[in-house]
């Protein structure tokens, strides 16, 4: 197993310093003494107060988020309100407490053999590509969103080419259209991708056809984040793997296909 930044062995109580609107998303910032994460690592988050008693008397478990950025003693996370956990986190105000366990999991590996980095993101999945871009000298960034409001999330990275489903911003179509175009131009690339399963599967298939190495940051519902619950498994060519400790970033060739119910 490759080297990774280790998490302190207890969740820690951080203070929220900002909660900013970014189109359809929020960027939650908390003062974090670290350790600084590797790009692609994640943290388990929960609010210190009123974690629970929301919709369906939830949330109960912490929620997993990739670090979107780590700089100047602040950890940044990109949130989208999609359920009781993300809703509660989206409400947090500066000064409020945030439980964090992390950094967890295996992150991205740098490009090899002089390959250029091609970052491909979809929706809230652009988050780990931002911290990845921060650590790269140069990268081509391709991001896909539903519509113009979501596409404002592209501002998290610099110099992104954007595709939208409704054509309101950038290319009218899929981000994988942009990916195919880039690889047609120069296939000496390493692809780094994070996004919804259908997008990741399209990235995997596109790269596999052209024998381009790809690293995919996977998502899965998880209870713990550190290999205890065995709840977050995905099917790989050699059996089930835990997204939390064997991933979240996995080499695309380890997967037959990307899918929630593989």
């Amino acid at each position: 197993m490759s080297e990774r930044t280790l998490a302190p062995f207890e969740r820690r109580l951080l203070t929220v310093v900002a909660n900013e609107s970014l189109g359809a998303y929020r960027v939650l910032k908390a003062a974090d003494p670290g350790p600084a994460p590797d790009a692609g690592q994640f943290a388990m988050l929960a609010s210190a107060k009123r974690w629970g008693a929301g919709e369906d008397e939830r949330p109960y478990l912490p929620r997993a988020f990739s670090y979107a950025r780590f700089a100047n003693g602040e950890a940044h996370f990109l949130l989208e309100d999609v359920g009781p956990g993300t809703r509660r986190l989206c409400e947090l105000s500066p000064g409020e407490g945030l439980w964090l366990l992390g950094p967890l999991g295996a992150g991205f590996q740098p490009p090899r053999d002089g390959r250029r980095a091609l970052l491909v993101g979809g929706g809230v999945g652009v988050a780990p590509l931002a911290i990845l871009q921060d650590g790269l000298d140069d990268a081509t960034v391709l991001l896909g969103f539903r519509d113009a409001q979501h596409a404002e999330g592209a501002a998290l990275l610099s110099g992104a080419l954007v595709a939208t489903d409704d054509g309101s911003v950038g290319h009218h179509g899929l981000v994988t259209d942009l990916l195919s175009g880039e690889l047609d131009g120069d296939a000496h690339a390493s692809v780094y991708a994070c996004g919804p399963p259908a997008m990741l599967e399209a990235v995997r298939a596109t790269c596999a056809e052209r024998a381009v190495p790809a690293q995919l940051a996977l998502e899965s519902g998880m209870a713990c984040g550190f290999g205890a619950c065995f709840g977050c498994v995905v099917a790989t060519r050699d059996g089930y793997a835990r997204v939390c400790v064997d991933g979240p970033v996995v080499a695309a060739e380890r997967l037959e296909r990307v899918g929630e119910r593989a």
Binding site: R11, Y60, C224, A228, C229, F230
Partner: protein, 301 residues
């Protein structure tokens, strides 16, 4: 707050529930800190079976009201690889090791327990009897007559303390505890998860046909699962209390323990040890915190 458990001296009364902490994965995530500040007074392995198991297809988790429904399906490497690969790593932990095993027959369980007998790194063996009998389909542990028979067959195979992990999914858990004791168990532990189910959420209005809306399918890949977490704590407390009144052997109490006050409740109804499970998912340091708080409480004022 040291405790004697079946002749095994423990530094405090807090251990883990089987299958709720992977010490080897924890070393990957947290490094040697877990050996230096290991939160549990003894480590209970996840369930080991004779042959490897892949576990259930995902999804395996469902967040419930103050709880978690899981349908993991006991993935494990099988006995041979557990002994060869995991045992050396687990024996480096600073606490006694309890190996949890499951078989669908007394013979399978005997083979598992007998293999553990040859390894002095294993301090005790816990029998997971929440496994359907291959003939009747009933969980071995839910039928006192069957349970006593199985435990009495396995008992002579081992000189190590034998703990029977009781299932709460039965008519009378205290009768099952008595059966385990009569069969020769040195201790019982409870509760395992409560059988539970969740349906896939409806993201869009249900599709109506002449027969009405189509039924939502089960969410979990395994169909049904087990409920754990604070939601089950009052049930667990009642079962531990009921068992304590009927047996003389030590009882390990668990079910939704989140803090020292909860742990104290289980000790108050007669548990010798308590186990922390789902709360470790929320904070891997939870059990250590609970043990420290219990220790402070028990110190002379």
């Amino acid at each position: 707050m040291s405790v004697d458990f079946c002749g095994i001296p423990l530094a405090h009364p807090v251990i883990n529930g089987s299958g709720t902490f992977d010490a080897i994965a924890a070393r990957t995530a947290f490094g040697v800190a877990i050996d230096e500040r290991f939160p549990f007074a003894a480590f209970v392995s996840k369930t080991i079976t004779l042959r490897p198991r892949a576990g259930n297809p995902p999804p395996r988790l469902w967040e419930a009201q103050a709880g978690l429904v899981n349908s993991i399906g006991l993935p494990n490497k099988g006995l041979e690889r557990y002994l060869a690969e995991d045992l050396p790593a687990l024996s480096r932990l600073p606490v006694p090791l309890i190996t949890n095993v499951m078989g669908s027959t007394a013979e399978e369980l005997s083979e598992l327990v007998s293999a553990c007998e040859e390894h002095e790194e294993i301090a005790a063996v816990e029998l997971n009897v929440s496994c359907p009998n291959v003939h009747t389909g009933l969980d071995i542990g839910s039928d006192p007559i069957q349970l006593e028979r199985v435990v009495s067959i396995v008992r002579p195979v081992s000189g190590k303390p034998l703990i029977v992990k009781l299932t709460p999914n039965c008519a009378d858990v205290a009768a099952c505890a008595v059966a385990a004791q009569e069969g020769g168990a040195d201790a019982v532990s409870l509760v395992n998860t409560l059988r539970a189910m969740a349906l896939a959420p409806r993201r869009t209005p249900a599709v109506h046909s002449q027969d009405g809306p189509a039924p939502a399918p089960p969410w979990l890949g395994g169909g049904t699962g087990g409920l754990s977490g604070p939601a089950i704590r009052p049930v667990a407390l009642a079962q531990v209390a009921a068992v304590r009144r009927r047996v003389s052997i030590p009882v390990v109490g668990m079910g939704g323990i989140q803090n020292a006050a909860h742990a104290r409740q289980f000790l108050d109804v007669g548990a010798t040890l308590v186990a922390v499970g789902t709360e470790s998912f929320r904070d891997p340091g939870a059990a250590g915190r609970i043990a420290r708080e219990l220790d402070l409480e028990s110190a002379p004022r």
